[in-house]
Amino acid sequence: MSLLDVKLNTECVVKDIISDDEKTSLRLMELGVLVGSKIIVKNKSSFKKTLLVFFNSTCFTIKDEIAKSIMVNYV
């Protein structure tokens, strides 16, 4: 499942990043979204187009376009 489908405040582990956009994938990895790293969705915006995500000791807002390319598993 992608990050878009996970429940709020539930710890997940990154399984894969399947983005076509090479630059965005690299930036995600460099910020700490690595395969095997933990990730939690803390909040979603009104139309769920933006997620507030916690990873690598920081919270980031991430657009749905990017979130759908982050494949995760529940811990």
Partner: protein
């Protein structure tokens, strides 16, 4: 001269450190991307000239935005000392860039900031263990100062001391980008992997691992890029090795989002709260506290400076020209604009409150969905709010946009947001014609500016600046308490800037306008403004403004002069009407015998035109620099057209008694479109994953 660079991730306190070290007052804030261009200041330390450079925040050498590119170039340039500032709360991520710099052989001093907050949450850092890998110290960016004697940094152990010191040790610092001997072990296997395929020197390969692809062909670049996921993992493993025993963090520690956010981040809580805050701020600034302080300021100014000088002139000369020049030319310009100084300071107090608290990042998050309808993103809310202060500053801030189209779009819509320079026009004109309802007129103008900006963004998004996907990835800062000292500093900076503009542009242009409005073609003095040179030329242009009810030479003059700086509009009105105070100006605007006077319809038209017409000269210069000459002219023409069109609707609507039906139709259309959009969303709740809807 020595060069010191301050480098680091966004929002770690680089500008705060720069201000502390150089005793400057650069803009700082609790938001990603406050600094978008490098800032420099040279000071003398121990008889040496040292130039400090504050760079925009950067996460990685593989850059993602314009300001990161600026920082990357600065990092790679020769420097006598590089200060790498990291936040204790997200040290792991911050060290990623530090490790990249280490790979490139770039020396730096690692300073760890925000430790007090980290410590308060029950976490700690053993700095000695980090020192095995980096030249690191814990500091407090707010209270750091330069050590006069060339000693090492003070050790501050577990507790962050209130005042710490830093020494500039240039002697042991490697200036050049040549020291590749320290490339960490984890990188060697990747270097060898590339070498087995291509005959490239290690230096070139390491540079390519960090996004510097000089003299490499596409095949080589693609191969090196394919190694990126493994290299990133290897870097993080190395960082984990450094931090494993050095950093002790509570198991459930979350930096950024707090428990309050669970409540705050609901759109029906934060957005209405923000609107309430905004309307209340306008009321306090312009109609409650602001005018009281203004009256006091004018009283003091008149008593201490203006009246004694005028009394001196009356007693020493009978030259009417000289007396009138000082009374209505010099003092009138200063008086009318300077009386708004308290309002400007208060406006910045409210804006700084929003920025410092971390609320702007939260607003960005909840507003992102709404703003994306117009081809903008959540970050645009920062530019909009900055625009309330100064459009020129916020045009520069458009640099933190993710892509070129978004940058141009935000730069072009930004002048529609009502800046502080326009507020004297609103308050004076609205007070003259709407009395107690002036507050609602001012609020209405702010909302009209915002609505026009969003409409323009939508039009640009559908036509010449179609949006590429805007990937909002915004770091969420922690909520912070009120820092009274910082708020006072920001208000002081802006007050200084406002006063310098009053005494620079407003006074000089005001004097020229006064001379031109009191000199005839035979170069003799005239008290009758209608006989003056300026009036003659302005009258020739006035017919153009007849359809919007502004066909008076005095108004045309004020609008033309206002292009230099919007603050000049009110002072020009005062000069035209020969009045020396705001109260007298308000009274004169309603009198039909005054050179500049309005009726209700033309007053509204004037307010709307002032709100929307051409950006000021300084904003145009920044627009040209940031988005080019074409878009600068586009801004001028589109804003003049929009201003004319909307003023025309208001003027003709009020004159012909059809303004209420027009407003009703516009509002009803907006509500209808909003309802259709919401119904569409409710009908397709899974739109986000449904490809049909996405298309």
């Amino acid at each position: 001269m020595y060069k010191v660079l301050i480098i680091g991730n966004p929002n770690v306190g680089k500008s705060t450190l720069f201000n502390s070290l150089t005793k400057s007052n650069e803009h700082t804030g609790n938001f990603h991307g406050v600094t978008v261009e490098e800032k420099r200041k040279t000071i003398t330390v121990e008889n040496k000239k040292v130039e400090f450079i504050d760079t925009p925040g950067i996460y990685s050498m593989n850059t993602f935005s314009f300001e990161e590119e600026v920082s990357k170039n600065m990092i790679l340039s020769t420097a006598d000392l590089r200060i790498f500032l990291a936040d204790a709360n997200c040290l792991r991520r911050n060290l990623y860039l530090a490790v990249q710099m280490q790979e490139l052989g770039l020396n730096f001093k690692l300073l760890i900031n925000n430790y007090d907050y980290f410590l308060k949450q029950g976490n700690s850092i053993e700095i000695d263990k980090i020192n095995k890998y980096f030249d690191a110290e814990i500091i407090n960016a707010k209270n750091i100062k330069l050590k006069e004697k060339n000693k090492n940094l003070k050790k501050i152990g577990k507790k962050q001391q209130k005042n710490c010191e830093i020494s500039l040790n240039f002697e042991n610092f490697n200036k050049n980008l040549t020291n590749f001997s320290k490339a960490p072990d984890y990188l060697n296997k990747f270097i060898n992997l590339v070498k087995t395929k291509y005959n490239l020197p290690s230096e070139k390969i390491i540079k390519a691992f960090n996004g510097i692809f000089n003299d490499l062909n596409i095949e080589q670049i693609e191969f090196i890029k394919s190694l990126n996921p493994q290299i990133v993992s290897a870097r993080y493993s190395y960082i984990d090795e450094i931090l494993f025993t050095a950093v002790h963090t509570k198991k459930d520690y979350v930096y950024g989002a707090s428990r309050v956010d669970k409540f705050l981040l609901k759109p029906y809580i934060l957005f209405p709260a923000f609107l309430l805050f905004f309307f209340l701020s306008i009321y306090i600034i312009f109609f409650a506290v602001g005018p009281l302080i203004s009256d006091f300021l004018i009283l003091v100014l008149n008593k201490i400076i203006i009246t004694p000088i005028l009394n001196f002139l009356y007693s020493t000369t009978s030259n009417i020209w000289l007396i009138e020049f000082f009374k209505n030319g010099v003092f009138s310009s200063i008086n009318t604009v300077l009386s708004f100084l308290p309002q400007v300071c208060l406006l910045f107090v409210f804006l700084t409150l929003l920025e410092d608290s971390g609320l702007i990042a939260r607003l960005s998050f909840i507003m992102d969905d709404f703003l994306s309808l117009f081809g903008l993103n959540g970050k645009s809310i920062y530019i909009i709010l900055m625009g309330l202060g100064c459009n020129t500053m916020s045009t520069v801030a458009s640099r933190n946009a993710d892509n070129q189209n978004l940058k141009i779009k935000t730069a072009l819509i930004n002048p529609y947001i009502s800046c502080m320079a326009r507020l004297p026009v609103y308050v004076i004109t609205a007070s003259a014609f709407f009395g107690a309802k002036a507050y609602f007129v001012v609020v209405g103008l702010y909302l009209l500016g915002l609505a026009t900006a969003l409409t323009m963004a939508l039009i640009l998004n559908k036509t010449i600046l179609k949006n590429k996907t805007s990937n909002l990835m915004l770091e969420f800062p922690a909520l912070r308490g009120i820092d009274v000292k910082h708020i006072c500093t920001v208000s002081k900076i802006n007050a200084k800037d406002f006063v310098s503009r009053v005494f620079g542009v407003v006074l000089s242009v005001g004097i020229i306008v006064w001379i031109l409005t009191h000199t005839t073609f035979s170069l003799s003095y005239t008290e009758i403004v209608t006989d003056s040179i300026l009036y003659f030329f302005a009258e020739k242009l006035a017919f153009l403004f007849a359809p919007i009810g502004l066909n008076s030479a005095g108004i045309v003059t004020a609008l033309i002069v206002g292009i230099m700086a919007k603050e000049l509009i009110v002072s020009t009105l005062s000069i035209s009407n020969n009045v020396a105070s705001n109260t007298a100006l308000i009274a004169s605007l309603t009198v039909a015998t005054s050179v500049v006077h309005f009726n209700t319809a033309s007053a509204v038209s004037f307010l709307v035109f002032t709100l929307l017409y051409c950006p000021c000269v300084s904003n145009l210069a920044v627009l040209k620099r940031e988005v080019g000459t074409f878009y600068m002219w586009f801004a001028i023409i589109s804003q003049l057209t929009t201003a004319y069109l909307i003023s025309f609707i208001f003027y003709q609507g009020i004159t012909n008694g059809i303004i209420y039906p027009i407003i009703t139709i516009v509002v009803a259309t907006i509500i209808l479109l909003a309802v259709i959009y919401i119904i569409k969303k409710v009908k397709h709740p899974k739109c986000l994953t449904c490809n049909k809807c996405r298309k």
